[in-house]
């Protein structure tokens, strides 16, 4: 028997009512506990306007962190760096997305990027959209997400 999976629908603009319970408390690189890293960034739409009504989920083995975007389209997440990977899987939900986008965020300093099996599938000129850049402070990475346009973030088949 093969059933048909239930159709996806948008989270809409008011998802925080239902999804905030599992969201990480608002945080910043300065508030990151020792042993954790921070990923901060902003989300932009096709007009390069910030997206305030989005929610991001960072997945790695044994770790799940959900973070809602702020009113200015920025986000900040404190995470444990995955022990077995150079990246997080990221699901992003927002008003306007009928189903989530699936992307990845890699760490710039990782030596293994050149041979990464997944990055090999990505046209070279688009790979940078998946790589978080180190900020001045150690353990802080910056990663912006662009839904459309010249530097559109790479999204994976989901």
């Amino acid at each position: 028997m093969k059933l048909i999976s239930t159709g996806s629908q948008t989270v809409g603009p008011f998802f925080s009512i239902g999804l905030s319970g599992l969201c990480q408390q608002p945080c910043s690189p300065e508030s990151a506990p020792s042993g954790t890293i921070s990923i901060t960034g902003r989300l932009f739409d096709g007009d390069q306007k910030p997206i305030p009504d989005a929610v991001l989920e960072f997945w790695s083995r044994g770790q799940f962190v959900r973070m809602a975007a702020n009113d200015d389209g920025s986000f900040a997440a404190n995470l444990r760096r995955p022990a077995d990977a150079n990246h997080f899987e990221v699901l992003i939900f927002m008003r306007g997305l009928l189903r989530p986008v699936f992307t990845r965020v890699y760490f710039h300093e990782a030596n293994a990027l050149a041979s990464d099996e997944c990055l090999q599938q990505v046209p070279p000129d688009r790979r940078t959209t998946l790589i978080a850049q180190p900020a001045k402070a150690g353990g802080h990475f910056i990663w912006d997400v662009r839904m459309q346009g010249e530097n559109e973030t790479v999204f994976f088949d989901f």
Partner: protein
């Protein structure tokens, strides 16, 4: 690209496209470049596991979260969560949120001129039991206007967020109510092209869970995608 990859990469008919121009918000937010296929070995990430201590007593009864009872038609929503092979998914976390009976969300950005209900927040959580069943008590949400097009109204709906076995099982959807005339005019509902799949987003009136003198039952069953490495091949000619 292998045969199985091509099948996998085709948009499942039960799923909406990213760009659906009638849903105006999708126009500037839908990805425009082709999606990239992930190698099979990289896509099996397991999901978080949530225990019962995570659920508070009133989480599955949205009418008992305040000192008084909310206004509106009391409903009992129940159903079963299974994977594509029909296996029940136990311990699956369901998060729900909805408008109140007047069609107003308890959210700072909802400025629809309908009253808030001091006895209704509109959010809940529930875990499926050993047979994949869930149930919660709420009130029927109202329809509400939005600015997508001229005289646009969202049909009454309850938002559902579900975690299955892994990241590919993750689902956010909306449950609608039978007989709602607004469904035919709703681009979010209609974004799912397959009419049978679309119809499965509409709950059915459920006589068996309707409680005399108390609440009307609705049934809403959900199918989550399985592990992508296994399912597609079995059904192919």
């Amino acid at each position: 690209m292998s045969e199985s990859s091509r099948v996998r990469n085709a948009l499942l008919p039960s799923q909406p496209p990213y760009l659906y121009p009638a849903y105006v918000s999708s126009q500037k937010r839908a990805p425009t470049k082709p999606l990239i296929a992930l190698p099979d070995s990289l896509a099996n990430l397991k999901g978080p596991v949530f225990g019962h201590d995570f659920i508070r007593p009133a989480d599955h009864n949205l009418t008992k979260q305040h000192s008084g009872e909310p206004l509106g038609e009391r409903i009992i929503v129940n159903g079963q969560v299974v994977d594509e092979a029909g296996h029940p998914l136990r311990g699956a976390l369901i998060e729900i949120w909805q408008a109140n009976s007047s069609g107003r969300y308890k959210h700072k950005n909802d400025n629809h001129a309908a009253p808030l209900d001091p006895n209704f927040t509109g959010c809940g959580r529930v875990l499926t039991d050993n047979e994949g069943h869930y149930s919660f008590v709420s009130i029927k949400p109202g329809a509400y206007p939005w600015r997508n097009h001229e005289n646009a109204w969202r049909p009454a709906h309850i938002h559902f967020s579900l975690f299955g076995a892994g990241i590919l099982s993750r689902l956010v959807t909306q449950m609608y109510f039978p007989g709602d005339p607004l469904l035919l005019f709703d681009p979010i509902f209609k974004s799912i092209q397959d009419t049978a799949a679309r119809a499965r987003l509409i709950a059915t009136f459920d006589w068996t869970t309707t409680k005399p003198e108390f609440a009307i039952g609705f049934r809403f069953d959900i199918v989550l995608r399985g592990d992508r490495a296994t399912p597609m091949e079995t059904n192919r000619p």
